[in-house]
């Protein structure tokens, strides 16, 4: 064990850079999106680099990585990168390889070109039923169904502005969907079912009790087992108890499903960053293709395309026209679930006579 390496950290960031980046990092002058998916960056030195962006499934096999490597070898001297939204970018230094690369990508079929500019780029998402233990929904399947439907917008620049869709399969929100133009969120709706016979063995009762943000969990003795009881009226299905204690699963075929959120953003451009707001409280899980979710996402996208000004993010549009108009334009129903009742609820009430009919 003497030679066991630890704490070496990742490879240094410039190790895999193409030479043109090594020479021009920090000197880039401007970029130009030549067509959907194809970026040109020009340096102060006159040097250029073309990046061809392609959608990926994120959940992929080593075979898929090999597909990418082969294309990279052929057209990019082996260089490529992944974006922060799970697209792959082929880094082209030799302009003459650009068209052949595009052709090869089209031929390959599993790496659609797009995701730049005013498009709907790849959906940031999480693990769902493929790996996690707390999901209310699958991730990859929903993403596939939604992206199939929105495919025309991935490889084009037809949106008023960039549209960022994210998905998280439970309230932990590993997809950090809370600031997305459109967020697809897995939600539970039933309080945990408790395994009284094993709870005390599997979990620490005080930690379990402390895990509940609404203090819905109390100690309880059930059939002589030390266990806990949940006050269902106070449960908001956050799942934190299950994270702390496997004897309290929430998952349920009827209880679980999807909520849609809209109008968040992260960038500071024009308006300050915004949280996503609830658009659709619940859509049942409809594997394998989640048709209602797909339909409602499209409804939102289309209303946005029809109504927004160019350069206006979805949330900026909704705020400009007013949320009453947002619900009218999207045809979505406004319910009591849309009215906040959590900690800052009062700050969301309409304290003005200003509203539209």
């Amino acid at each position: 064990m003497a030679e066991r390496l630890t704490d070496i950290g990742p490879p240094k960031y410039d190790l895999f850079w193409p030479q043109v980046i090594k020479d021009n990092a920090g000197k880039w002058l401007y970029h130009d999106i030549l067509e959907p998916g194809v970026l040109l960056h020009v340096s102060e030195t006159g040097a250029k680099i073309w990046s061809v962006r392609c959608g990926t499934t994120r959940l992929m096999t080593t075979m898929m990585v090999e597909d990418i490597c082969k294309l990279a070898d052929q057209f990019c001297d082996g260089h490529f990168r992944f974006t922060t939204r799970n697209n792959v970018e082929f880094l082209v230094v030799d302009e003459s390889k650009l068209e052949p690369l595009k052709k090869a990508l089209k031929a390959a079929g599993n790496l659609p070109i797009g995701g730049t500019g005013a498009s709907i780029t790849n959906i940031v998402h999480t693990q769902g039923w493929v790996h996690c233990h707390t999901p209310a929904i699958d991730a990859s399947g929903v993403v596939k169904a939604v992206m199939d439907d929105l495919f025309e917008y991935f490889g084009s620049h037809k949106m008023p502005a960039q549209v960022r869709i994210s998905l998280a399969c439970c309230l932990n929100m590993c997809g950090a969907v809370h600031c997305s133009d459109i967020a697809i969120l897995g939600v539970h709706r039933k309080p945990p079912v408790i395994e009284h016979t094993h709870l005390d063995k599997m979990c620490e009762i005080p930690t379990t009790i402390a895990s509940c943000p609404t203090a819905a969990i109390k100690p309880a003795k059930v059939d002589d087992f030390k266990s806990v009881a949940v006050n269902a009226d106070r449960c908001m299905f956050c799942g934190n108890c299950y994270t702390m204690c496997p004897a309290m699963p929430l998952a349920d075929a009827d209880g679980d499903g999807i909520a849609l959120w809209v109008g968040g953003k992260v960038s500071n451009s024009k308006s300050m960053p915004k949280f996503s707001k609830l658009a659709v409280p619940f859509i049942p899980n409809e594997p394998p293709r989640w048709p209602t979710t797909v339909k409602m996402v499209r409804q939102i996208v289309e209303a946005y395309v029809a109504g927004a000004n160019r350069y206006e993010r979805l949330g900026e549009w909704a705020e400009r026209i007013g949320w009453e108009r947002f619900f009218e334009k999207t045809g979505l129903e406004f319910t009591h679930h849309h009215i906040d009742d959590y900690r800052f609820a009062a700050t969301t009430w309409r304290t003005s006579t200003q509203f539209k009919w």
């Binding site: 990742p10 970029h31 959940l59 992929m60 990585v65 082969k70 990168r81 599993n110 024009k270 960053p273």
Partner: protein, 423 residues
């Protein structure tokens, strides 16, 4: 012959124009990877049940590390023995996720031999996620990875794998060397990354400019966001070219044929209204600019951030568990970010120390700040209160005063009061 489960529902996901993960996994299963076949089988069962089939992890990992591996077991292992264990190995990605085929092939090879061959490229935090290993392979995988120069990422109540946008490597907007900062922090805090010792997780993300392409502002306990203090640089000739319709608007983001109306698209949408365009000259009242990036985004060939660059530090972003989601709040409006980033690291260490002392179990730093007050946190990290810390000053009158702020202190005698005021 390769193992195969009937997956009528998943097969539906082979249709449609977007790449299909099912198709991809099927071909891997066909090479004889039982883990992939069983993964599809179990996923099909989940589609049928509308419930996931994974159990809590339990503690698995590699020697000396408190994180980097997420344990995972099937709750139907008899049906799908290939995924009985399906642990995740989080491999720390290189900042900004540049790869060379040669090098990535080597780690894919490890994974083909010792794991399921399934990946997330990449995890939401930024890691290369190797999805599906048996416990007894973990040490081997780790040894092979490190021997090739790779290490694990973070998990648990530790520093998580820092990540960054691509910054100066390919972006003209980058005001700081995002990748270098990301790398430097990762290396400087290896111990914090591998040995969980905090109330909860802690994330760094580094964005080269306020466009926030790695979403640092929404997803990291400490967001380092490039910005500048001097004036936006204007290339007059390029402005004229935009006016003449020679360049596409917004760097071609709406198609090469969409041109710019400088007044309408740039000046009118400037949030501070600090720009003026008279048809010839574009002028910016930089004092009133909030460096939102909009005008620069619209005219990347004509406008550039200033040269006196550094970062704004925003602390506290997180997902909703437990107290609701938070975005980062401005803590240090501006800090220079030159290697070795001493000043920044001093700040970081003060911050961690405070959080470590004051944070409750499973309380993110943003929640500790909420609970104890932004003012308390500022005092702890020795930052002077500044209007830039708030969207607006308080509107409620409930100001807490400390005893030493009030002449005469808090101790009073009722007898003295009653001398002046009968009961």
């Amino acid at each position: 012959m390769a193992k195969k489960h009937q997956t009528p529902m998943l097969d539906e996901l082979e249709k449609g124009p977007w790449p299909s993960f099912v198709t991809d996994i099927k071909r891997m299963a066909e090479t004889g990877k039982d883990a992939c076949a069983d993964l599809l089988g179990q996923l099909e069962l989940s589609y049928k049940d509308k419930e996931g089939h994974w159990k809590h992890g339990g503690i698995v990992g590699v020697l000396g590390y408190g994180g980097g591996v997420i344990g995972r077991y099937s709750d139907v292992p008899d049906l799908f023995p290939g995924v009985e264990h399906f642990h995740t190995v989080r491999v720390n990605q290189p900042a900004a996720k540049y790869y060379h085929s040669e090098s990535i092939r080597k780690i894919m090879d490890i994974w083909n031999r010792r794991g399921s061959g399934m990946l997330n490229m990449h995890g939401s935090t930024g890691d290369i996620i190797m999805l599906g290993a048996f416990t007894d392979e973990l040490e081997n995988i780790f040894a092979e990875l490190t021997s090739l120069g790779w290490d694990l990422g973070g998990s648990g109540s530790a520093l998580r794998t820092p990540s960054s946008c691509l910054g100066q490597s390919r972006c003209e907007f980058a005001c700081i060397n995002a990748e270098d900062i990301c790398y430097d922090l990762t290396q400087s805090y290896q111990d914090e990354l591998h040995r969980p010792a905090w109330p909860y997780k802690f994330k760094f993300k580094v964005d080269g400019c306020p466009n926030c392409c790695v979403a640092s502002l929404a997803r990291s306990d400490c967001a380092i966001i490039g910005t500048w203090r001097d004036d936006i640089r204007i290339d007059k000739a390029a402005v004229a070219a935009y006016a003449a319709g020679e360049f596409a608007a917004n760097g071609g983001a709406h198609g090469q044929d969409v041109k710019l109306d400088i007044q309408k698209d740039v000046c009118d949408l400037c949030p501070t209204q600090c720009m003026a365009w008279d048809g010839k000259t574009l002028s910016i009242n930089n004092k009133e600019c909030t460096r939102c990036m909009h005008c620069i985004n619209m005219m990347p060939r004509a406008l550039r951030p200033g040269k006196d660059t550094g970062a704004s530090i925003l602390v506290g972003a997180k997902a909703p568990i437990l107290d609701g989601a938070q975005m980062g709040s401005v803590i240090v409006p501006f800090i220079k970010m030159e290697p070795p980033y001493e000043e920044f690291k001093e700040f970081v260490e003060k911050m961690w120390e405070w959080w470590d002392e004051n944070g409750k179990n499973r309380e993110r730093i943003g929640e500790t700040i909420q609970r104890l007050g932004l003012g308390t946190f500022l005092a702890a990290v020795e930052v002077e209160p500044d209007p830039r810390h708030v969207k607006e000053p308080r509107s409620n009158p409930y100001v807490f005063y400390k005893e030493d702020e009030v002449p005469g202190g808090f101790d009073r005698k009722i007898e003295d009061y009653r001398k002046r005021h009968a009961r």
